[in-house]
Amino acid sequence: MSEAAPLLRIEGVSVRRGGRLLLDDVSFSASRGEIAGVIGPNGAGKTTLFETIATRDRREILFYMPDGVRPWEDRRAGWCLDFFARLFGRERDGEAIDALQLAPLLGQRVRSLSKGEAKRLLLALALSTPQPLLLLDEPFDGLDFRQTRGAMELLRARAAAGRALVLSIHQLADATRVCDRFLLLDHGRVLAQGDLASLRARAGNGEASLEEVFLALE
């Protein structure tokens, strides 16, 4: 885990919509060089947390890739990558294209991509941005185990190069493999945060999986 000053720090964030408390006093930080995982079941408040953080005045420092978007469906994947890079005054991210095995898909229209293929395209788009902090909502959803492995390696490499990555993941096994630090969310409340060892210590079980830790702390 990085010791550098956090790129982003939020303190005591609460969100209430339609009389429902979606986030309750959440504090959180993200630093360069680390991959943090926001962990929780469906409805825990992961996406709400990301959308609360990703305000337009923070667009200089962070880029948020939401889950479930499929932009420019009538265009080819290669066009999407080029267009997006041009908006940031950059070139297409060749390393990401290779690592995510996107080369054979560049000539295909986004509409025709499978769920996993579209997710890899979104990952490549997000990684082509210059912002130091990336918020990725369910980055491995729809990927098979080989693709997940490749994506994880790429994310690790980008974190090692100095970016901060915050991933929202509901597959706890995937989270354990890629994240350095975890924020456990349930019903909008922070159950705990820290690395796996400290979470295990809090749960009183030094061998527990992340799932067991979560269940012990909820």
Binding site: A54, R56, R59, F63, Y64, M65, P66, G68, V69, R70, P71, W72, E73, D74, R75, R76, W79, F83, F84, R86, L87, F88, G89, R109, L125, T129, Q131
Partner: protein, 425 residues
């Protein structure tokens, strides 16, 4: 700002527009619709030219240009909103807009790019009208450049306003269908205002002067009214700012909002009569006399708004007077009432008052009204000759028009659309 951003955005929106089925359909319809109007107009013009009484006053503006460009009024009302809504609504629903809002490109640049693409789309959609004008000239028909350009400007402003309404609706509503219903409801609302404004006075009649259709009518009469141009641009700016505020509010947008609101109240009272037959002007001699009146001129019209004489008077006299008399005040005491069958001795009269002098008349004829006013102001009415407009009769069949508009144009559009949609992306 790097130029690569707006270039990339405009290029994206151009591809999006030209590759879309909705725009292709608009283009496909534009040809035959313009052709139908043009061919009918040329035939009617030929028939009218054969009549000696009509031939001397025949104007290509009324006879050919208005019917031909009338097709575009239909397109703007019924098809353009869908094309414009699609351009924003697709990005909203697919999530692309959420990504774009995180790029360095400002929202103003993004909406501006869409507007530029839509303007490019408008220029392409005008090709059938250009073909009609070329055909008309090839038949030996007359065209006045000023009144043609003015009509085109009026339609372009109407198009801009419709696009702005559509983009604001696309920003405000969750999906394209709701936005389209909102825009069509707005259009129907303005028709209702037009309808009730014609038969009433007061605020509804004032509002009816500023509906898109009423504003276009001024251009169709050959009048270039600076206030209408400013008002249309101000409303368009306000609507686009509203769209930006809904999508992602920022302090800069409040400045644009303030500018738009300030422009709404700008009144220059300047207009130019660009019609070749000077239908919006009195004779130069009369205009000089009327401009020299330095006291307020009060006109009280004892006519119901629905009375045809009131309409004639408004169109043939008041429109021209408003352009030249410095301080003109018009009152309509019976404007909102139906008094045609009431036994009121004042009904049907028009009272003119300049300073302490006043006169009452029943005439709505231009020459008589001018005589009354000028005499009341202590001026001597000038001698008036026959209008100098020669009229442009032409007897010519609409050669090649049917082939061009009904066969070649649809074929060209279909081929271009296929090529565009294949290349897109």
């Amino acid at each position: 700002m790097r130029w690569s951003e707006p270039r990339a955005l405009v290029s994206k929106d151009l591809r999006e527009l030209f590759g879309s089925t909705s725009y292709a359909l608009l283009l496909l319809v534009a040809g035959p619709l313009t052709g139908l109007s043009f061919i009918a107009a040329v035939r009617n013009y030929t028939d009218a030219s054969a009549t000696t009484a009509l031939a001397s006053a025949l104007s290509p503006l009324d006879g050919v240009l208005l019917p031909t460009f009338g097709a575009y009024d239909l397109l703007i009302t019924f098809l353009v909103p869908f094309v414009a809504i699609r351009l924003l609504a697709t990005e909203k629903s697919s999530g692309a807009l959420r990504l774009l809002l995180q790029t360095p490109a400002s929202l103003a640049t993004q909406l501006g790019a869409k507007l530029l693409a839509l303007i490019a789309g408008w220029i392409v959609a005008l090709i059938p009208s250009a073909i009609a004008l070329v055909l008309w000239r090839s038949y030996g028909g007359h065209l006045d450049p000023s009144e043609t350009a003015n009509l085109l400007l009026g339609l372009t402003l109407r198009y801009l306003l419709t696009c702005s309404i559509a983009l604001a609706a696309a920003a405000a509503f969750a999906n394209a269908a709701s936005a389209a219903i909102a825009v069509l409801s707005f259009t129907i609302g303005t028709w209702a205002i037009d309808f009730f404004g014609a038969a009433n006075s007061g605020w509804i009649a004032t509002l009816a002067r500023y509906t898109p259709a009423a504003m276009l009518r001024q251009f169709e009469r050959g009048l270039l009214n600076a206030d209408i141009v400013i008002l249309t641009l101000a409303i368009s700016l306000l609507l686009l700012t509203l769209a930006a505020l809904i999508l992602a509010p920022s302090k800069k947008q409040l400045i644009a909002l303030a500018i738009g609101i300030a422009l709404l109240f700008v009144r220059t009272h300047r207009s130019a009569d660009l019609s070749e037959d000077r239908r919006n002007s009195f004779s130069p001699a009369d205009e000089r006399l009327l401009q020299s009146i330095d006291k307020p001129v009060d006109i009280t019209l004892y006519l119901a708004a629905e009375d045809p004489r009131a309409n004639d008077y408004e169109r043939n006299v008041l429109t021209k007077l408003r352009r030249v008399v410095r301080d003109l005040r018009v009152a309509y005491p019976y404007g909102g009432r139906t008094l045609l069958f009431e036994n009121d001795p004042r009904y049907g009269t028009i009272e003119y008052r300049i300073g302490a002098k006043h006169v009452v008349s029943r005439s709505t004829t231009e020459e008589i009204v001018l005589d009354e006013l000028e005499t009341l102001a202590g001026l001597t009415p000038p001698k008036r000759g026959e209008p100098a407009y020669p009229g442009y009769p032409l007897r010519a069949p609409p050669l090649h028009a049917a082939t061009l508009f009904y066969a070649i144009w649809p074929l060209l559009v279909a081929t271009a659309w296929l090529l565009c949609s294949r290349r897109t992306g």
